[in-house]
């Protein structure tokens, strides 16, 4: 027979279960967004740090219906911090690898050749953190501009301008590749 939980421990366990139930549906999405922003190799660290931030701020979440944009905001902030911290480290340009989907198979989108991807990777890591976040949320999570604006607490015009500025730089890299 297990020893009886003290009210304090029982309360902590209940809070933990409550937290898991709230964030569980969104963990995969957070990981994918993190991978899109900082790269696959550092996605787990950023996702875990973001979830830890969410745990710390869990008590202040008043509207559980807004859990998803709340988690997006936390992840975006953690990703920005990660990129800032990375400034003091040697910059790693990821080596092009064949993209895989959730089933672990090669991506069917063979239009992206490895050489092209390498050029786009290099252009992507030169984008600002804000541009990366907006592009990732828009293209990797298929969030609309209003949804991103709500998540990040910024005007829609700012989201659009960040997406456009980031896209312009990627397009420039892609066009240079074509020439």
């Amino acid at each position: 027979m297990e020893p009886a939980l003290t009210p304090e421990l029982a309360s902590a366990d209940a809070r933990s279960a409550d937290f898991e139930a709230l964030v569980g549906p969104w963990v995969n999405e957070m990981y994918r967004a993190a991978a899109a922003i900082v790269g696959t190799h550092e996605a787990e660290e950023v996702t875990q740090d973001a979830l830890l931030d969410a745990w710390r701020g869990f008590a202040r979440l008043r509207d559980r219906e807004r859990a998803r944009p709340w988690l997006h905001a936390i992840l975006a902030n953690r990703a920005r911090k990660h990129l800032r911290a990375a400034r003091s480290r040697p910059r790693l340009i990821p080596v092009a690898t064949e993209p895989t989907n959730e089933a672990g198979r090669s991506s069917p989108d063979h239009a992206i050749q490895f050489a092209e991807r390498d050029r786009l990777d290099r252009a992507f890591v030169r984008l600002s953190a804000d541009q990366r976040v907006c592009l990732a949320l828009h293209y990797s999570l298929d969030l609309s501009v209003p949804q991103i604006a709500e998540s990040l607490g910024i005007p829609q015009g700012t989201v659009k301008s960040r997406i456009n500025a980031g896209m312009e730089r990627l397009r420039a890299a892609f066009r240079a590749e074509e020439q």
Binding site: A36, Q48, G57, N77, S140, K160, L170
Partner: protein
């Protein structure tokens, strides 16, 4: 040029596919389980930390209650020229004096608020940790403590322009324990001797910098009349201010670490209002109008300025000419999500005549921000005539104004040439620019036509410093050249 606020019309499918593929990754199966394990482990570790402040406060209170009460007499003139009415001998004590802690207990009786503007109020220790970890770039935090004004004997000005975030003649201390910043001893016959005091041992301090855009300073200043052991206050501020780029490059890191005050939000029980208006500038908009313009963000600072002065608040802004603009900072209505009580800060420029937002950007400098610095100086034959000075405007190649520059108020002579030394540098993204120079009076500096005007193109790279000199020979006219003096 495409409208930056409209979506990109067409996106190459390869680029869109590339972006989608970045997030099309296999998520580790046990991701949530491992994360929850870590949450449990680290959450356990955070519990004692949350209890640290009350314990620290109890120790601090015990220390300050153990010493005797001491009050000082009338305050000497603390103007930077170091000429107090009474004879003053200024020097910092090398250690804590038994008297300087004396009345801290009385000051501690004012209870700090738990939050201001919806932000949790944190300790100086926590803020210093955030600064050390470079976690206050583009983020504001609310911090509690005592504003201590130390005794300032003198601070001679260097013979060059002083950037806003350079620590010149700025000795104010924000301390987690109230103490007397100075003591004066009345010697009789109108004479007194004053000593500056170092913070008591173990005190955690910040050295806040409050510039012209900081709100609530008037409330703080009023409170100093009755203060002997610092003013209990809550400051909202940030670090990594873009004005750090205006500092000489060798002290950039120091400037970037400065805690810059946005708002003195609470002073000894009084909540400060955001009221930064220059009555000499006849603004149409009120602070309330500015607050409405930045909604749903919460207004943090608001200052009405001549457009050419806006880059003095944020050097990334392109703003020139003599129209009135409001430069404001706002905080997000939702926490930054990092759990450290911070809120993201945005910068706004609002045209006073049209109430239109002309600039809106995050305060965060961004990981790749490494602008160039452009400095302009001039040399003119003969002495200054009729109050003429040299003015400069940096433009984009298409003629769009970027920033106006002035001299630094410092001049020297070499033979028959009068040298006018550079003022605030223009902080520019890498690219091609045009700079124009002309001489006129201060009041006429924004007129369209200027005699002796000359222009030149220049290119600036990331992190590069470019310095050019406009020469005004006695025969009239003007030409740009490489600098002939430092």
């Amino acid at each position: 040029m495409s409208d930056p606020f409209e979506p990109v019309e067409s996106v190459e499918p390869e680029v869109a596919a590339y972006l989608r593929s970045r997030g099309n990754v296999k998520v580790p199966a046990d991701m949530l389980a491992r994360t929850v394990d870590r949450i449990h482990t680290e959450a356990e570790g955070t519990r004692p930390r949350l209890a640290r402040w009350p314990a620290f406060a109890a120790v601090a209170a015990a220390v300050v209650l153990a010493v005797v009460t001491f009050t000082v007499g009338s305050r000497p003139n603390l103007l930077p020229d170091g000429s107090p009415r009474a004879t003053a001998v200024g020097h910092a004590s090398t250690g804590p004096s038994p008297t300087q802690n004396a009345t801290s207990a009385a000051s501690m009786s004012t209870e700090f608020p738990e939050s201001v503007m919806g932000m949790p109020v944190v300790s100086i220790r926590e803020v210093r940790s955030l600064i050390d970890e470079e976690q206050l770039d583009g983020l504001a935090v609310a911090v509690r403590g005592y504003w201590i004004q130390p005794f300032v004997h003198s601070c001679p000005a260097p013979s060059r322009f002083i950037a806003p975030l350079e620590r010149w003649c700025s000795f104010d201390v924000f301390s987690d324990i109230g103490y007397a910043g100075w003591n004066c001893i009345i010697l009789g016959q109108g004479q007194s001797e004053c000593h500056g005091n170092a913070p008591p041992v173990g005190t955690m301090t910040l050295s806040p910098i409050a510039l012209g855009d900081a709100g609530g300073m008037d409330v703080l200043s009023r409170s100093f009349r009755d203060a002997t052991n610092g003013i209990p206050a809550v400051l909202i501020g940030h670090a990594q201010d873009p004005r750090a780029w205006q500092c000489p490059t060798d002290i950039y890191d120091q400037c970037a670490r400065e805690f810059v005050v946005d708002l003195v939000a609470w002073v000894a029980g009084e909540t400060a209002e955001i009221s930064q208006t220059d009555p000499s500038l006849a603004a149409r908009m009120s602070v309330a109008d500015v607050a409405a313009a930045v909604a749903p963000f919460e207004l943090l600072t608001a200052q009405v300025l001549i457009a050419s002065e806006a880059p003095g608040v944020d050097p990334r802004l392109h703003s020139a000419g003599g129209d009135l603009v409001w430069v404001a900072r706002s905080i997000s209505v939702i926490p930054s999500g990092s759990g450290d009580g911070t809120r993201s800060v945005d910068v706004w420029v609002i045209d006073d005549a049209t109430e239109r937002v002309t600039w809106h950007l995050g305060l965060e400098m961004g990981s790749d921000y490494a602008p160039g610095r452009f400095l302009a100086q001039s040399a003119e034959r003969g002495s200054s005539q009729n109050g003429l000075d040299t003015f400069y405007r940096v433009e984009l190649p298409d003629g769009s104004p970027v920033q106006d520059l002035t001299n630094g108020g410092w001049s020297s002579s070499e033979g028959t040439f009068r040298r006018r030394h550079p003022g605030l540098p223009s902080i520019l993204e890498a690219g091609n620019y045009v700079v124009r120079a002309w001489r006129t009076t201060y009041d006429d500096r924004f007129l369209e036509e200027h005699p002796d005007e000359c222009a030149t193109e220049f290119t600036i790279a990331q992190s590069e410093e470019v310095r050019l000199e406009a020469a005004f020979p006695s025969r009239g006219g003007c030409e740009w050249r490489a600098p002939t003096f430092e």
